[in-house]
């Protein structure tokens, strides 16, 4: 049996990788993928913790989080699309009309 802590560690690692992706990628779509990665890492954590306690609540929560992730994906990609229409780019660096 694999100790639960390993799953938690894997979750933390994936979460951190997602964070790095958000930081270093210029392409907004890839940035957004990294955020999905972070959410997925949390999902894994929920499942692992639920399993450890023998509680199924964690799985139900993951079910809801997936819906949230899906909704965010749809809306987020829509917003990226709208931004692209205005600026003809998805490069994060070029969105700096608003500053200071």
């Amino acid at each position: 049996m694999t100790p639960i802590n390993y799953y938690l560690g894997l979750g933390a690692l994936l979460f951190a990788i997602g964070t790095v992706g958000v930081l270093i990628r210029r392409n907004l779509i890839v940035v957004f993928m990294s955020i999905e990665l972070m959410l997925n890492a949390v999902n894994l954590t929920f499942i692992a913790l639920g399993r450890a306690m023998g509680s199924a609540d964690g799985q139900v929560i993951v079910f809801f989080v997936m819906i949230v992730a899906g909704v965010e994906a749809a809306v987020g990609l829509g917003i990226i699309l709208a931004a692209f229409r205005n600026r003809l780019t998805v490069n994060a660096d070029e969105f700096n009309l608003l500053r200071w």
Partner: protein
């Protein structure tokens, strides 16, 4: 004895009605309606003050009238009411505020007769009167703070009234900022008092209840609270170190200067100290600080006033100086005398400002005394009124300023503050000197105006002349309410205030006479110096020049007198101020400190602002930094267990 007196609510609300009227209907209904309503509401307020005072005077000493508008902030144990209280101190102040205020409103009808923004002007003036009355009548400290802030706001609005001039707007802002700096102290002082009393179960900040239980407060807490409150008071009352805004505040319309920056608002600080005298009494070191700062400010401002050529700036510095006297009085425990001086000062300072306003009005906005002179012939009435005011402020025996200032100086001497007394006496001489310099430069000597403009100079119209006459009478006779003990009816105002402010033990009669004689003597020396320098000599030079050119040039030239002043007084002050405080007498280092703080704040603002680069990933980085710090913090605390 406490008597319910609902008319107090009306007294407070009258000016508020005026504000609403002016704001909403002012421009629509025209000038005369605005004038009538604005003056009317303040006059009614004055009448109500008189009524209340008469009622109060018939009651046993120590009683008060009160009116409760209702609960204000009731939260948990916190109990703050909208409570107006009319005791002797409030009576004196509200009479002054509404009475002098009413005269200034009347005067304004003439002064602002041409200004297109009359409704806005009178709305501000009424709002100011309202705030000041609230400050004076408030039954608890927080309600007083409401008035306190309102007064600051109005002063800001009125200084910057002629906002077309960017300098004016800047000065308005300067007043606002300096006042806000003082407010930090005031607000923190309220908080300290609040938490100190709350820990003893008193959650009301009510003056009467705080007074009863003042003994519960430890001297250390009292010292902290009083120093903070006094810091706030220096801001509003233009004392060292926060006086810099007042001279610059003179850019507003002159009646504003009279109302706000001379007669009433600047005395708010003195009023607070007098109102909280039971707390200040707990902290002797604070009292010393109050007395010292007051005296030093009085002297310092007087020396600066000597070198000014702008008529309103001289008056501004004289205000600072006179308020220094008031704080000296408060600091040595003579709170009643300080309030008495507030009253007489309101009379003669309002008079002087309105007189100066008439001069400025007549000269089409000219404020430089070097371009005045000889106006006595064209403006005899103003001349007479200004003479009364000048005599009063110089504390010439018999005039109002004499009695109040004398009482303060006596108290300073008998309470053992001999050094402060000495400085104050010297300052009295300087006061005579600079005030008569102003007076002579303006009204005597040869006209330094062009012929045509001089010919156009005229007396003010009736609405402006009438307040001058009334105020002149008050300046001459107003001191009679506070004669020295044993003379005729004695010190009426002192007795009236005594239940609130306490009384200082009077000095023996001979000492009183001697001290008065010394002060008066010094004052007369100052006046005579002014007389010689600005009136007598200008007639001499021609004869003297013929007789002995060298001597003339060496000794009696007016130029040399100025040089003498310059050498004896201005130079040392300049030196002193440049050595200690900064480069220039007028604005000093405090200006630099204030500006410096402003610049530092602005710099910080820019730095903070630059964080927002607009790049979303930089934002993520900042966010992540915050996360790491918080998680790290919890990691450390987890490791500790």
């Amino acid at each position: 004895m406490i008597v319910e007196f609902p008319a107090l609510n009306l007294l407070l609300l009258m000016p508020a009605i005026g504000v609403a009227f002016n704001l909403f209907f002012g421009y629509r209904l025209g000038r005369s309606a605005v004038n009538t309503v604005s003056v009317g509401v303040v006059a009614i307020a004055f009448a109500l003050s008189v009524w209340a005072t008469v009622k109060l005077a018939t009651m046993p000493p120590g009683s008060c009238l009160q009116a409760q508008l209702g609960p204000w902030i009731y939260a948990g144990p916190l109990r703050l009411d909208v409570l107006l209280r009319f005791d002797a101190l409030a009576a004196v102040m509200s009479l002054v505020v509404s009475g002098v205020g009413c005269l200034i409103h009347i005067y304004s009808c003439g002064y602002m007769g041409e200004d297109p923004d009359f409704a806005r002007y009178f709305a501000y003036m009424n709002l100011f009167t309202f705030s000041m009355l609230l400050l004076v009548l408030a039954g608890n400290l927080l309600l007083m703070f409401v008035g306190w802030e309102g007064v600051g706001l109005c002063s800001y609005l009125l200084i910057a009234f002629w906002y077309d001039n960017p300098l004016f707007a800047f000065n308005g802002r300067k007043a606002f900022v300096v006042n806000r700096i003082g407010d930090v102290g005031f607000l923190l002082g309220i908080f300290v008092l609040f938490s100190a009393f709350a820990s003893h179960g008193l959650w009301t900040l009510d003056f009467a209840e705080m007074r009863e239980r003042a003994g519960l407060i430890s001297p250390a807490i009292a010292t902290i609270a009083c120093l903070l409150l006094f810091f706030g008071a220096t801001g509003k009352s233009a004392q060292i170190p926060l006086y810099v805004w007042l001279p610059d505040a003179m850019v507003g319309p002159t009646p504003v200067s009279a109302l706000i920056h001379a007669a009433t608002m600047v005395t708010a600080g003195v009023y607070v100290v007098a109102r909280l005298n039971f707390l200040f009494a707990l902290s002797p070191s604070t009292m010393e600080a109050v007395a010292t700062i007051g005296t030093v400010t009085a002297f310092f401002a007087a020396t600066i006033a000597l070198a000014q050529s702008d008529i309103k700036r001289v008056l501004a510095y004289s205000t600072i100086s006179q308020i220094g006297y008031m704080f000296l009085g408060a600091g040595v425990g003579a709170f009643g005398a300080a309030i008495f001086h507030v009253v007489t000062h309101a009379f003669f300072k309002a008079l002087l400002f309105l007189g100066a306003g008439s001069v400025i009005h007549a000269l089409g906005g000219e404020q430089d005394m070097n371009r005045m002179g000889g106006l006595r012939r064209r403006m005899p009435l103003t001349h007479a009124a200004m003479l009364a005011g000048t005599l009063a402020i110089s504390a010439v025996p018999g005039f109002s300023g004499f009695f109040s200032k004398d009482e303060i100086l006596q108290a300073a001497y008998t309470s053992g503050h001999k050094t402060l007394w000495l400085i104050a006496v010297v300052t009295a001489g300087l006061t005579g000197l600079y005030m008569f310099r102003l007076f002579f430069l303006t009204f005597y000597g040869k006209p330094r105006l062009s012929e045509e403009r001089f010919a156009e100079v005229h007396e003010p119209p009736f609405v402006m002349a009438m307040p001058l006459v009334v105020l002149a009478a008050l300046s001459v006779f107003g001191g009679l309410i506070g004669l020295p003990e044993g003379v005729l009816w004695g010190n009426q105002i002192g007795a009236f205030l005594a239940p609130i402010t306490g009384r200082v033990s009077a000095a023996p009669a001979q000492a009183v006479m001697l001290l008065s004689a010394i002060t008066s003597g010094v004052t007369f020396i100052g006046i005579i110096l002014a007389l010689i320098g600005y009136v007598v000599i200008p007639t001499l030079p021609e004869r003297l020049a013929a007789w002995a050119q060298g001597l003339y040039r060496l000794l009696w030239s007016k130029y040399y007198v100025d040089e003498l002043y310059d050498f004896l007084i201005t130079r040392p002050v300049l030196f002193l101020s440049s050595a200690i405080l900064g480069r220039n007498v007028d604005s000093l280092a405090i200006d630099a400190v204030v500006d410096g703080t402003g610049e530092a704040v602005q710099g910080g603002a820019t730095a903070v602002r630059r964080v927002e680069t607009g790049n979303v990933q930089h934002y993520v980085l900042i966010y992540l930094g915050g996360v790491l710090l918080i998680v790290g913090y919890y990691l450390l605390s987890a490791l500790r267990h």
